[in-house]
């Protein structure tokens, strides 16, 4: 048995919860960003040129859940107001929706309760503030007039939290689990964004609005300004290549992978996880985006990449989070592995323990 005294001890369950805080935090911020950029795009585009709201759902990985929650009622291809309200609330204010910003923040807040001993007090306060803010104001996401400001406030809240964590939390194992979770979620979001926007990029949007597609996709990952400055001609291949491979762009898939790799390097028993990520990085490095576009293989490549991220997640889970009695098979997994379904965590945590018996002995003083 290993005995470790010099390192601060970190429970596997705590590590898992920190990893999920990282994922939820990234997911929340990025959801706010793509809802904002997609809303703007749909305002610009006239009805017949619009792609509707479905791409937005797909970018967040929420299309399937949406369809299930709506039954036959509605694939949101239209841009009427009712559809807009439905989709926007589903992704922002609806506390019953597993894909809303509000639910993600609530889940993060719950995970914070479980990890509070290792999370800096300042960060806990910032998250509590963000949670309260969102609980009280999420209706502001619905109305177009208040939507952008509200989404910006959510992004700011997320950035405040990530800033506090990176600048005040001691960078030990606990921090790196959080940081890895964040980078993997970010990679996932960027991959889905490219996937969804590829048709628009390749030129299916007609006439005078053709340029809006690539601007929206770059804005979705906060890369529009940087891309313009780079002076690269906005061809589909260049845009996709930029988002996949440009290390200078913090939301490019390569940047996410390389940062995750640095974080994994700090963790104990990291051999298997680094091996998986190493081969993902190698595979990505060989990609020629122009060639993919020409061969019409962007979609299939992105699918492979997404599966790779899911495998990375499973490997992390098995290495550090699962009950680790190699020779005992009885233990139940604490969280199902499911590709890019961040929400499973909150559900399994909730189900893990029944309400405990009343132990509070602050007795009656009569």
């Amino acid at each position: 048995m290993t005995r470790i005294d010099a390192q601060p001890l970190l429970l596997s369950t705590t590590a898992e919860n920190l990893y999920w805080i990282g994922r939820y935090l990234e997911r929340t911020e990025q959801t706010a960003r793509v809802v904002a950029s997609h809303s703007e795009l749909n305002i610009d585009l006239p009805g017949d040129a619009s792609t509707g709201w479905r791409p937005l759902l797909r970018m967040i990985g929420a299309a399937h859940d949406w369809d299930l929650s709506r039954g036959d009622e509605g694939v949101p291809t239209t841009i009427d107001e009712e559809t807009e309200t439905g989709v926007i609330s589903y992704l922002t204010s609806d506390s019953d929706s597993p894909n809303s910003i509000r639910s993600a923040i609530a889940a993060m807040h719950f995970n914070l309760r479980l990890t509070r001993p290792v999370v800096p007090v300042e960060a806990a306060q910032a998250l509590t503030e963000l949670h309260l803010h969102v609980e009280l104001t999420s209706h502001e996401a619905i109305n177009r007039r208040t939507r952008t400001a509200w989404l910006t406030s959510v992004m700011r809240g997320c950035q405040t939290l990530s800033g506090i964590l990176s600048d005040t939390m001691i960078h030990d194992d606990a921090y790196y689990f959080y940081a890895v979770g964040r980078q993997l979620e970010r990679a996932d979001m960027t991959i889905r964004t490219i996937d969804v926007e590829t048709p628009a990029l390749i030129g299916n949007t007609p006439g005078p609005f053709a340029h809006l597609g690539w601007a929206a996709v770059l804005r979705s990952v906060s890369a529009l300004q940087a891309f313009r400055r780079s002076g690269v001609d906005p061809s589909p291949g260049a845009t996709i290549g930029f988002l996949l491979l440009d290390r200078r762009c913090p939301r490019s898939v390569m940047a996410c992978f390389e940062k995750a790799n640095l974080h994994l390097a700090e963790l104990p028993r990291n051999e298997a996880a680094r091996q998986v990520l190493g081969s993902l990085i190698d595979g990505l490095a060989e990609v020629d985006a122009e060639a993919l576009v020409k061969a019409n293989e962007v979609g299939s490549f992105l699918d492979t990449l997404e599966l790779g991220v899911a495998e990375q997640h499973r490997c992390i889970e098995q290495t550090w989070f699962a009950p680790r009695h190699d020779d005992e098979a009885e233990a139940e997994p604490r969280a199902e592995s499911s590709q890019s379904q961040t929400q499973t965590q909150s559900q399994t945590s909730v189900a893990a323990e029944p309400a405990s018996p009343a132990l509070d002995e602050l007795g009656n003083a009569t």
Partner: protein, 481 residues
């Protein structure tokens, strides 16, 4: 210029913590009273500021309801409850004495049972005790200590003396709120801390960590301490987090621990790590499903065996709750005499044991004037206050008592002392109690003050936070002038 305190606050007929019957500051409180009366209406702003600080810090308690668990902001009244240091020193001695006697009792009950042989307490008392754990017989925990941590509830009666209402030895909670209340008062009443000598409370967690560490079966190396919590749905989870954080202990649920080769290991990202001391905040019955509660998913299989073999220390020890029984409580003065050869420093509330036929008839005849309590409930469950019950309720409880007299006691209805409290824009008297926290061991320790709880409704004696109770910071003040 000072303000007339009688214009600021008018106490009820009950004993008041701040003022005497004429409305002047009681001994040891004069300077504090002067400070607050001079604040005038500012005190209401300070109340608002303290509530904002609690919200910002996220200090909550968990309320269980049919709708599920809800986190509520911790209720806090900015006016402190004041106790002179001289008086507190005596209370401290009394609390240490009491916990020492209770530890002797528990050790005796799981060993030779001399206390029964010597006829200090009747054997039947333990024959029917729901918190006696035969599994603990013969176990010898480190230092002979079973009840390491005790939360003792104190009240003042009409004479103004502190009386012990009950000893909580199982999983007493509330200490984190004592610590947080002090943080909040320091924040909003900073000036007062410069002018007055208010004894600090912060050291509690260090002393707790020191006590827990001293129990380690591997002396000489840094002990690994784990706080075992039932999880985030427990009403005291906030406290578990805070204590673990301040002690640098691992906050674990049962599933984070496994027993292997006779020792308890925590499952960490670097592999299993042996745990030396468990500060458990779960009830005995949820410690180890192989011993107590086979249906429970809580707990750690094999934990009791590891503890009995001395491979891990548990605080409070399993079985310590046997002394946390309202009938045993009534014998504490006798136990102090028996084990320590001393007289009790802190008196009990007058108590009739229904197991005794003469007392039973007294209780039944005076039900409408008494409080009757089941012996082994907690959180106020089962208690009936005679003066506030209907005839039908009294008849019902009389039948219950007659069916199981050993498990009931009767006490007079106490008029708890009051303290000035902010209520709807005025300063009004509200009833309070006090829960100090006591640590046993070679260096016994009692918190300076404790958690003061307030019944926020006018005239109410119910201080539980789950039933509209509030809290105050408790200032043990050294009068220097």
């Amino acid at each position: 210029m000072s303000v007339d305190p009688t214009a600021w606050y008018c106490a009820l007929n009950a004993v008041d913590e701040m003022v005497d019957r004429e409305g002047r500051g009681r001994p040891g409180r004069a300077r504090v009273l002067e400070r607050f009366t001079n604040l005038g209406d500012q005190i209401f702003d300070l109340q608002v500021a303290s509530e904002a600080a609690i919200k910002a810090k996220g200090i909550t308690f968990t309320l269980s309801s049919s709708e599920g668990n809800v986190d509520r902001a911790w209720p806090f009244d900015v006016l402190p409850r004041v106790i002179p240091a001289d008086e507190w020193r005596r209370v401290t001695e009394g609390l240490n004495q009491r916990l020492s006697a209770l530890n002797h009792l528990i050790a005796d009950l799981y060993a030779d049972r001399k206390v029964i042989a010597d006829k200090i307490v009747p054997e039947e008392l333990f024959a029917t005790s729901v918190n006696l754990r035969p599994e603990c017989n013969g176990v010898q925990p480190p230092g002979g200590l079973w009840a390491h941590i005790c939360g003792t509830d104190l009240v003042r009666d009409d004479s103004g003396e502190f009386l012990v209402l009950e000893d909580n030895l199982r999983v007493p909670s509330g200490v984190s709120y004592m610590l947080e209340n002090r943080q909040i008062s320091k924040q909003v009443l900073a000036d007062a801390f410069e002018d007055l000598t208010i004894l600090p409370v912060d050291i509690y967690t260090e002393r707790l960590a020191e006590l827990l560490g001293s129990l380690s079966p591997r002396p000489g190396r840094k002990p690994v301490i784990a706080l075992l919590t039932p999880g985030p749905y427990n009403s005291a989870y906030y406290e578990h987090v805070m204590l673990a954080m301040r002690m640098g202990a691992l906050l674990v649920e049962g599933s984070d621990l496994v027993v292997e080769d006779g020792v308890v290991n925590a499952l960490t990202v670097r592999g299993p790590v042996r745990v030396d001391v468990i500060y458990r905040r779960v009830d005995d019955l949820f410690l180890d499903p192989t011993v107590f509660n086979p249906d429970s998913v809580l707990g750690v299989p094999g934990l009791m065996g590891a503890w009995a073999a001395g491979k891990v220390a548990i605080a409070n020890a399993p079985g310590a709750g046997v002394a946390d029984d309202k009938v045993v409580y009534s014998y504490v003065p006798d136990l102090i005499r028996y084990y320590l050869d001393e007289e009790a420093i802190l008196p009990n509330v007058e108590t009739w044991r229904c197991g005794d036929p003469a007392s039973l008839s007294h209780v039944l005849a005076n039900l409408d004037k008494m409080v009757v309590k089941p012996a082994n409930e907690s959180g106020g469950a089962g208690i009936v206050i005679g003066s506030r019950a209907t005839r039908a309720e009294l008849d019902k409880v009389a039948d219950v008592i007659k069916a199981d007299p050993r498990n009931w006691i009767g006490q007079p209805v106490l008029q708890l002392s009051t303290a000035p409290t902010i209520c709807d824009g005025v300063v009004a008297p509200r009833h309070v109690d006090l829960r100090p926290f006591v640590l046993a061991g070679e260096r016994p320790y009692v918190t300076s003050g404790g958690l003061t709880r307030v019944a926020m409704n006018e005239g109410s004696l119910v201080v539980n936070s789950s039933q509209g109770g509030g809290s105050k910071d408790t200032w043990v003040v050294e009068e220097t002038s």
